[in-house]
Symmetry: C2
Subunit: 340 residues, 2 copies
DNA sequence: TTGAAAGCGATACCAA
DNA sequence: TTGGTATCGCTTTCAA
């Protein structure tokens, strides 16, 4: 078995308390004994048992990431992986660890994430894929367990979150289309129970209003962010008699689905229909034609969320933080040039 | 603070040992005291502190997932998410938890995954994205820390792994192309330091041999699995003077990149060049034309790897297990029909 | 500056 | 069938 603090103490010829002091970089230890201890630890290949440490400290230095496995769209999101990367790198750079957990526990009465919290395995949660009146937010608040959101909840006071500028992103995409001369722009939005969808709708409508264009409900549909729904909803619009010359999709994946439907109708992109997406996932540059889209700083969003949570846990931050990260329009070829 | 086992004991009017017996479903406890204890636990909203439990049990019931953040391709892989899903669902159904960890620790001397192992935070590892002579395998073996691979390592004896049938998958893809009448088939393979690449190459060559076709090194290139490399390598072949009528890409993402390059040359898919991919990621059905590809049971691979590791840890399994999961050819439209 | 001892919250052995 | 107690490996007073 691996060495314990006692072994180190014995080898160094000091007490365990001293070893603990040294290993935790506390002051008031003489240079000489410090060296002795360090050398002993080194020789024995000693690593503290974090279970034992957490038991007394009542903190595990571990964050939990809750991924809702119901929302299968999250898992199709290439950007989900990018967020994990941002989170996990940050977490580690602060000396923390990351535990992932899904919302449901099949064959178990308890939601597994709550279980993990109650069993003292983690210090705080990062929530992804936030819905309107998200049950996780309600439950964690009730249990008074610390957490931050990637995504926003307008009703949640006292809760910190990091989110892309959805309104601004949608606005930018729409202005681009409008500047290109489009006046009838279909909108493939996300599900109605996501705040994201409201924000992107807001951007859509502001842009229309700015340009004194009418809002036509026949032009908007709600999908679930993945290709298939983009495809279906686009077909619906295509098969109805409404006319339009452009589509704004609330995700790149839906934009891809829409492109497929458009092509199947024998229409050309961008000549007949222009398309804009949202996210700028890696595949966006490889659609045919390459997709013009709104880029969100996904990695940074994850990283920042993790940082904020850690600062809250370490009591370096007391007020809630609501951070809106900037988005950027990436112009490729799916919108073409100005219409006459 | 939350209730401890002592609180429960006090409220139920029994000893802590009895509470422990009840809560762990040990026999030899009278129904009556069992009920008392359960009710007390319920009332106090008691959940055992897993830190304390792990300390005495010397097991954490937590598995670690090592994701190499150097290999940025992993993160672009939509399938990576699917694997996590398989792993995390399985892990939970066995009452385990999942901790994710990356290979490198910037600003830290230690690889963070080793750190986690040494600090007794997890019981075993699942490794993804296995390279030839993968350093993680070497290190974990040296530390005698339990782990399983998603992917194979031909030299690693005593190590269990789960992997798709790469040889067979490649073979199936190639036979399809050959049956369609193709004789000059380009191969966009993965990096040379991956066993996967060797296996897919093996499938490629077996298929050629079967059909008595020549192996032409000018037709093969090694990319890194993501779109950009498929695009670049396809261009290289296109710009060289070699002729070919089909491409087999070792990943769907590379196939997408290749399609872009082919279209840019003004060639049609599948009329001029047929394309087959590997993976069957969600986006494969939405390329233009929809991609014919080899499907791997990604979710199941993750699930099985987790299950095997848990069985090893629980000493229900002693021999190493080498499982090759079947692949399946999904025919869409990127290969067209038989050539004359 | 160092050491002894209590305690974190559980399990498990041994008695009763 | 139940209870007392040592123990897991560490941190943290408190004394020396």
């Amino acid at each position: 078995m691996s060495a314990t603090i006692k072994d180190v103490a014995k080898l160094a010829g000091v007490s365990v308390s001293t070893v603990s002091l040294v290993l935790n970089n506390k002051p008031r230890v003489s240079e000489k004994t410090k060296r002795k201890v360090l050398r002993a630890a080194e020789m024995l290949n000693y690593y503290p048992n974090l279970m034992a440490r957490s038991l007394v400290k009542k903190r595990t230095n571990t964050l939990g990431l809750i991924i809702p496995h119901t929302a299968n769209y999250v898992f199709s999101f290439p950007y989900f992986v990018e967020i994990i990367r941002g989170i996990s790198n940050t977490v580690r750079s602060f000396g923390y660890r990351l535990m992932v957990s899904t919302t449901y526990a099949e064959n178990q009465k308890q939601s597994s994430y709550l279980q993990i919290a109650r069993e003292h395995l983690i210090d705080g949660f990062i929530l992804l894929d936030i819905k309107l009146r998200d049950e996780r937010i309600i439950e964690l608040k009730r249990e008074q367990f610390p957490f931050v959101l990637v995504g926003k909840d307008p009703w949640a006071k006292g809760i910190s979150y990091v989110d892309p500028d959805d309104v601004g992103g949608a606005l930018r995409a729409m202005r681009h289309l409008i500047n290109l001369g489009h006046e009838r722009i279909a909108f493939l939005n996300g599900p109605l129970d996501y705040m994201v969808s409201f924000d992107r709708m807001k951007g859509y409508r502001i842009a229309l209003a700015e340009a004194r264009l009418n809002y036509d409900p026949q032009l908007v549909r709600h999908g679930d962010f993945v290709q298939e729904s983009g495809y279906q909803k686009m077909r619906e619009i295509l098969n109805s008699s409404v006319d339009f010359t452009a589509v704004f999709a609330a995700s790149d994946l839906m934009a891809m689905g829409a492109m497929k439907a458009i092509k199947e109708k024998g229409l050309r992109i961008p000549e007949d229909i222009a398309v804009v997406g949202f996210d700028d996932i890696p595949g966006a540059a490889f659609t045919d034609p390459p997709l013009t889209t709104v880029r969100q700083p996904i990695y940074d969003i994850g990283a920042l969320a993790a940082k904020i949570l850690i600062e809250i846990l370490e009591k370096k931050r007391f007020k809630e933080e609501h951070i809106i990260m900037p988005t950027e329009l990436i112009i490729r070829r799916s919108c073409g040039f100005k219409r006459d």
